[in-house]
Symmetry: C2
DNA sequence: CTACATGTAACTAAATTAATTACAAGATAA
DNA sequence: TTATCTTGTAATTAATTTAGTTACATGTAG
């Protein structure tokens, strides 16, 4: 299956908090930009808050980034919103037959390869920050007219 | 969500076809090694066949590899079993608000990054062949005793 | 023809996702 | 304090996917 769109929405939210930092970023306002329900935003925001990427307070309208733009990587967001369960990008079938050569060794053979593939993917995400996204978006928007 | 375990099972199957190549590899036999239902194996086998990785014939017991060991990469298997839908590892929320700077640019900003992360992951899989897995398994099995 | 294997359709239970309703609890201004 | 708005969160829903299972049609070989 695909990685949850919570990841893309999380990036959207953080980017919006910066681009729209002079206004009040309520969950309703953000939901209008993402085009979803405010509760969905609040749920994701809760995860971003738990990861200390944003500041939100109960009862107080609006949220802010909790770190500098260039200190939030896409990997931070990816982990924060649990884009993938228990850090396992690949799933492996359980209980292969231990009486079979392949069965009793397949997991040990495959796990390090999966871990490696996951690692290079995560490293790619770690090299991009919200600042990069903000720049990219402002650059693109100029050219739209 | 995690990538379907069909991927790990597909690797298991192909490896078993090699390690057990002197015997008849029926779906029932393979299912016993994977520890699942023979129909699950036949379904995955159908996908591997469509990708021309194995030879199977209706009514005839047993399957064989359709290529040399070192000409089947894990990426081939990954694609064959559709470990991920429509080649999209990451999903992106649809219809963000075009009246918002972030809304109308977020997809264009995020897609190339997602594509890059997916590409490096797939490249890691492309560097490993079934031959590597077979070797790794036989190596490990010696040390079990 | 018989016996057995593959190919497939159909159904199931479980898990996850995203959306939604409803409401409790916190904060602020009048 | 009260009224109002917001966040936090529980509960429900429909849709999708997964892995497993039953049932059976089709193909092959002896």
């Amino acid at each position: 299956m695909s990685i949850s769109s919570r990841f893309a929405v999380g990036i959207h939210i953080l980017t919006l908090l910066e681009v729209n930092k002079d206004e009040v970023n309520s969950s309703e306002f953000i939901a209008a930009s993402v085009n979803t329900n405010p509760v969905v935003i609040r749920k994701i925001m809760g995860m971003l808050k738990k990861a200390e990427l944003v500041n939100v307070r109960p009862g107080v309208a609006g949220a802010e980034l909790a770190r500098k733009l260039d200190e939030i990587t896409l990997l931070d967001v990816y982990k924060a919103v649990e884009a993938v369960p228990e850090n396992e990008l690949f799933s492996v079938h359980g209980n292969p037959n231990p009486q079979c050569t392949v069965g009793r060794n397949i997991q040990a053979a495959v796990l390090p390869i999966f871990a490696g593939a996951q690692a290079v993917m995560e490293k790619a995400l770690a090299h991009v920050t919200i600042e990069d996204i903000v720049q990219s978006i402002e650059e693109q928007d100029k050219q739209i007219e």
